[in-house]
């Protein structure tokens, strides 16, 4: 019984959102606002049960296995809420600084080890292999990457040799954007298929 109710309410809201395709209308707006409310409420509850309780509340000094240090993030976290009050809003910069500092540090090491070094290393490819398609591919990969890097030169004007190389670099970029576009179309169509499967199969039992 509950299952059927869920399915039909879900179908109702699905159609509400789809109605936007015709044009913006009150039904869509209603659904959209319900969604925003539900999604934030949901997120709040999840943070409460998955972060606040296990990582803060149950580790307070008076709890078993707790520590005094847990008070620090709690206080910093509460300071973040000062953002709501304009007069003392500047205090929220302290916890903000924690976030920015941590992410800046992690981005440095992550980009260095995951993207920079590994990707350069992956281009150490032999220009002569057993199969024709791989050989051509390797040439493409090695010189395509270098021309793209030349496109990203900022301290030299793109003229002469550099200009021509950078132009090839743009072409390589465009091919890779084409691939991304094709894949994105695929992704979006899949999402629509998912919704139609829900409407046709779970609601109307047509499939």
């Amino acid at each position: 019984m509950l299952e059927i109710l869920i399915t039909w309410i879900a179908a109702f809201f699905t159609l509400c959102i789809f109605s936007f395709l015709y044009k913006d209308n009150p039904i869509y707006k209603f659904a959209e606002h319900v969604f925003v409310g539900v999604s934030f409420g949901y997120g709040f509850v999840l943070q409460y049960y998955n972060v606040f309780l296990p990582n803060v509340w149950n580790r307070m000094p008076w709890e078993d296995g707790g520590s005094l240090f847990t008070l620090i993030p709690l206080i910093l976290g509460l300071l973040m809420l000062t953002r709501i009050f304009p007069d003392i809003g500047w205090i929220s910069r302290w916890p903000l600084a924690v976030m920015i500092g941590s992410y800046a540090g992690l981005q440095i090491i992550g980009n260095a080890q995951g993207d920079l070094i590994e990707q350069v290393r992956a281009n150490f490819l032999p220009l002569w292999t057993d199969t024709f398609s791989e050989t051509i591919g390797n040439w493409f990969l090695v010189f395509g990457t270098i021309t793209t890097l030349v496109f990203f030169f900022f301290s030299k004007e793109h003229k002469g040799v550099i200009g021509h190389t950078a132009r090839v670099g743009i072409w390589v970029l465009m091919i890779s954007f084409g691939a991304s576009f094709g894949y994105t179309v695929m992704a979006r169509v899949s999402l629509l298929i998912g919704r139609l499967q829900f409407l046709l199969e779970d609601c109307l039992h047509l499939m």
Binding site: Q47, N55, L106, G114, M186, S190
Partner: protein, 282 residues
């Protein structure tokens, strides 16, 4: 005619897209589904793992990309439980845990596996990269309790799980940020872990670069790959009853692509005719 096409109401395009996806869903065409190398790489790697291996499945997605990633999640779970692995899951997206629960009930739960000895859901933590890096140093500190609030010291299969290196293999199901890119950047290079990725088709082209460099050892990109993986792992199956969600959508996928390609061609024909007209005027 040219004017009509030039200012074509987008709702007409919408109708075509709707019909091209809905009709193939109702009437089976049965186009072939092959399998590509990145997908086989994932499958072969899991086949090679000895039974009882500890596998971390990080499910970093939400209902927004469910049609692509949920079938993948189901297929991966089924494969892992079929092979008798111990499955641990974590989520970096807040809306993921209920979806993971559903996937567990449909696969492991229906196959008679037990929560706590074959499967554990460690739940959601906010913070993206920070969470991933922390997993590298200590899991009990970061996840003192599982998704249901049970202390992990009371969960049998958590014994011996110290940090990310306690796992034999990581499967990441990723809908964007935080996801595969962050796992690759923070974990793979640093701890030399085996990682495979199942991602939306949007991010797949980017992750091909990681596959070619060997940073991830396999890649499931989008619903097509999910369909390929379903086929490899024997979905649809009777026991446990699992529907083939991705395979069923493949005909519709092809038809919708065809319609979009036709629209791109029409758009360009209109463009060229228009340009010719302007030239003639001059």
């Amino acid at each position: 005619m040219l004017e009509f096409l030039k200012y074509l109401d987008r709702r007409i395009i919408f109708i075509f897209i709707f019909l091209s996806t809905a009709i193939p869903l109702l009437f089976d065409i049965g186009l072939p589904i092959g399998s590509t190398k990145p997908v086989r790489d994932v499958y072969d790697h899991i086949e090679k793992l000895p039974p009882g291996s500890k596998v971390l499945v990080s499910c970093d997605y939400d209902p927004g990309s469910m049609p692509e990633l949920f079938p993948m999640n189901i297929a991966v779970f089924k494969h892992l439980f079929d092979r008798g692995m111990k499955v641990y899951t974590t989520e970096l997206w807040p809306a993921a845990p209920p979806l993971v629960e559903n996937a567990w009930r449909e696969t492991g739960g229906a196959m008679g596996k037990k929560y706590g000895t074959d499967f554990v859901n460690l739940g959601f933590k906010s913070g993206g990269e920070v969470v991933i890096v922390r997993m590298g140093t200590s899991i009990p500190e970061l996840y003192p309790e599982d998704y249901y609030g049970t202390r992990i010291s009371k969960i049998p299969m958590m014994e011996g799980i110290r940090d990310i290196q306690s796992f034999d293999f990581i499967m990441n199901i990723s809908a964007g940020y935080p996801g595969t890119r962050e796992w690759v950047q923070q974990i793979v290079s640093r701890y030399n872990m085996d990682l495979a990725s199942g991602c939306t088709a949007v991010s797949a082209p980017e992750y091909y670069a990681y596959h070619q460099s060997g940073q991830i050892l396999g890649l499931l990109g989008g619903m097509k790959s999910a369909a390929e993986y379903e086929k490899l792992t024997g979905i649809p199956s009777e026991n446990p009853p699992i529907k083939a969600r991705a395979m069923k959508g493949m005909d519709a996928q092809s038809m919708a692509h065809l319609v979009i390609v036709i629209f791109i061609i029409i758009g360009n024909v209109v463009y060229f005719l228009e340009r010719k007209e302007q030239k003639d005027k001059r």
